[in-house]
Symmetry: C2
């Protein structure tokens, strides 16, 4: 979830960095389970202090006194999975607009003030959340709070700024998706894999929806979701929790609660057989995406299953010792790249993903067969104790990195709270991973990695220079 | 569009007949083009008188004095293609609720009064419209108008009635979709073929959405779409147009206009390669669905293309002389049934569909190859003058049936108006069909029946009695 964050420097005047957390959409070479572990493991370091404001806003504070800095993050329970057809991408456009002025501060003032106070800021839009972050010297916490509280309820959303900003977003879409064959393939893959789940639409939105978005739509979206009772404030750093709470009361306390109506569940309908698509786009290399429907912690009926899936992902993908790297990339030399990923902390039923690119000497069919053989092996044979140890060791080792970052600590707390879990989940994570048995890994492989719940997308490269033929012809898979 | 209307007698106390127009979803054995022609051709019979009320309501009247009856229809521009994820099926549930009482008339009164006046009534929900019809002795027109005007703005939507009615609809869904393998396959086919078009969701809605629908959702939907400026009143029968207009003014004139916001365009994203799914469900027989993305009259950039597609559908499917019947069913005996359909009067980009079931001696692959061979033949060779004549003759001959039905005359006017065309389109239809050349049929076959814009769904029968094996194993298509 964290490792695949894409950094994008927008054309905003104040050089605000806007991040769309498009996990899984861009290559998936990292080991996401490890990424989670980074955030998880350190959660045991110091306790989280939990407060609630009367308007429904939750305040979570963790002390970390290694450096005289703090990160303040405001997490909203809204993102692309809250959107409906016709206004896809609206959460992300609204994130852009959050820098475009309030009654109190004109457009751009927010970023200028943070910057003048030596702060760094970010904003993220993902499927399940929209979040705003400032990292500042610890005494500047009130600066962050005042500005965040102000824009939570007082955004002006001027039409002329909107008209400019939506163009910026459309350009972002062109760069990141239209001109990126793997993203394009992922987007169509997700739209096929999911029939009724909101995970079927792209975070950045369909171009046609962006073209037809209005400032009235944004205003309605803002009023619907931006309220203290739909927000979590997370502060990690060299701070005193009680003092943070007092400041939070001072700045966020006066805000009026919203009238938050929970989004419709929009459960995915039962998949009753394999789905398969081709995606033809100008590209250098083919690319294969395979995804199985799987539960996550938030939806799991059997508590240990998501953790077993995390371990399973670690068996396949997690450095050079993992199976995909050792057997498909180095061993068989079938894949130029191959990855597997699974995010246990999505809000809704998710996908266990495998993806890769065949080597020049191998076809997409070879690569798919190799992935299927890996699945078969996981179903037929128990993973070894040695492999289990490697996965747990990797997750544990990641603690080191995690403790270095107050940002990721805060991010993990924010994600867990926002997807309907609790920050306490972080404290249990490592212990649950350690409790997974080889039998459980085999059991989830058998239960969930089933052909009838699989979606396969194949990027079929088309000439980038239309005068040149593509590297390889189509595929024999999807007739 | 008309021929595949499904009749369903609901469990409503007043035995109101509720029709969902699920064109294309149920077998598609009829020749839809002919069905359209039925309605079209007769449109030239007598002129349509057009009036506009000050509140934005359009009134269209056609005289037909053969019998002392009239049909009155109220058409709303709302249907499943106006819905968004999370509230799919809401238009249809609202149609049910339209019989559940207003401030003036208690639940069930509507149907009782119509019945007491010797009238028959229907209501339809489709992708692009919701419509309410009464057929009555001509003097009873004011009865119909008074009741329809009343429920256009004064529905009470009592919660207890809603809770009962949504159960009725869920049962309807179980009977029509969950327990109907072809419907189930069609539903998943549409959800795969369409990525961003609203045609991807079922008219009856996803079960999970029905389960989570609230009377507050319905109230909002009613307020949003049920207003005179979003409605067309169509009257056909033994009436005097000017008198009908006076009555319309009297009953509908006082209604306040709504604040209608046009739905988002939600254009379908470009399909970049074939899509293919398996749908496993308890069934006796396999079933193949193939659909190509095609324009319709409302979206066409080249005016004649939709008419050429209508003729193309007629070449393939339209009685025993048509190619599918003569070459696939009788000739090669590959198909136990085979059909093709296309509806030129959808509101949005549509699908050219082919569907069928192989004979016992043939595989799904054989059937698909046979369909593809038919497509190839249409692309490679011009259709003969004889075949062109047959299609035009068939459409022309259908005039006879059409003139028999004031109901279908009114329905055609209503559909055309509601999908954004004009009733005048009906007068031009036959002439445009006649103007289609063999070259144009070949041109649309080449331009639109392209593999990269094709979606294929295969119903793979599972045992109905789980103890018995299915008729045939899966398929070699979708690995």
């Amino acid at each position: 979830m964290v490792l695949s964050v894409l950094r994008y420097r927008s054309k905003r005047p104040m050089s605000v960095v806007c991040l769309i957390v498009k996990k899984k959409e861009y290559g998936m070479r990292g080991w996401l389970a490890a990424g989670l572990a980074v955030c998880m493991a350190g959660a045991q370091a110091t306790p989280v202090h939990e407060y609630n404001l009367k308007n429904g806003m939750k305040v979570l504070v963790r002390e970390d006194h290694r450096a005289p800095v703090m990160v303040a993050q405001v997490w909203y329970k809204v993102g692309s999975s809250y959107e409906v057809d016709g206004i896809t991408g609206i959460s992300h456009v609204l994130e852009h607009m959050m820098f475009k002025g309030t009654d109190e501060y004109a457009s751009g003032e927010f970023s200028r003030i943070i910057s003048e106070n030596g702060g760094r800021e970010n904003a993220f839009t993902a499927q399940d959340y929209t979040a705003y972050f400032q990292t500042m010297e610890k005494s500047r916490l009130p600066v962050s709070f005042e500005l965040e509280a102000d824009r939570m309820r007082n955004l002006t959303l001027p039409e002329e700024e909107f008209l400019k900003e939506v163009q910026v977003v459309m350009e972002e879409r062109r760069m990141r998706t239209e001109d990126n064959p793997q993203s394009l393939a992922y987007e169509q893959f997700a739209a096929t894999a999911w029939a009724s789940s909101p995970y079927r639409t792209p975070i950045i939105g369909w171009m046609d929806d962006l073209e037809n978005l209005s400032v009235a739509d944004l205003r309605a979206w803002y009023l619907k979701w931006y309220a203290p009772d739909n927000a979590t404030l997370v502060v990690v750093g060299d701070v005193d929790p009680e003092e943070v709470f007092q400041q939070a009361k001072k700045y966020f306390g006066p805000l009026q609660a919203g009238e938050i109506v929970a989004p419709k569940p929009r459960l995915e309908i039962e998949q009753r057989g394999i789905k398969r698509i081709e995606v033809k786009a100008p590209a250098e290399l083919p690319y294969l995406l395979m995804g199985y429907k799987v539960p996550v912690v938030h939806t799991a009926e059997v508590e240990w299953e998501p953790y077993a899936l995390v371990v399973l992902a670690g068996i396949l993908d997690g450095g050079t010792a993992a199976r995909l790297e050792s057997e498909l990339v180095r061993g068989g030399e079938i894949a130029a790249s191959a990855g597997a990923s699974y995010d246990a902390y999505d809000r809704l039923e998710s996908l266990f993903l495998m993806s890769g690119t065949p080597t020049t000497g191998h076809s997409m069919k070879d690569l798919e067969d190799a992935f299927m053989a890996q699945v078969g092996k996981l179903q037929d044979e128990r993973v070894t104790a040695g492999e289990m140890d490697r996965v747990v060791a990797q997750i544990s080792a990641d603690k080191v990195y995690e403790q270095d970052s107050i940002f990721y600590q805060a991010m993990q707390i924010g994600i867990l709270e926002t997807v309907g879990l609790s920050w306490k989940e972080a404290d249990r994570y490592l212990e649950r991973i350690k409790a997974v048995t080889p039998e459980q890994v085999q059991a989830v492989a058998r239960k969930y990695l089933q052909r009838d719940h699989l979606t396969v997308a194949e990027l079929v490269p088309q000439p980038i220079d239309p005068k040149q033929p593509p590297r390889s012809g189509g595929s024999a898979h999807v007739h």
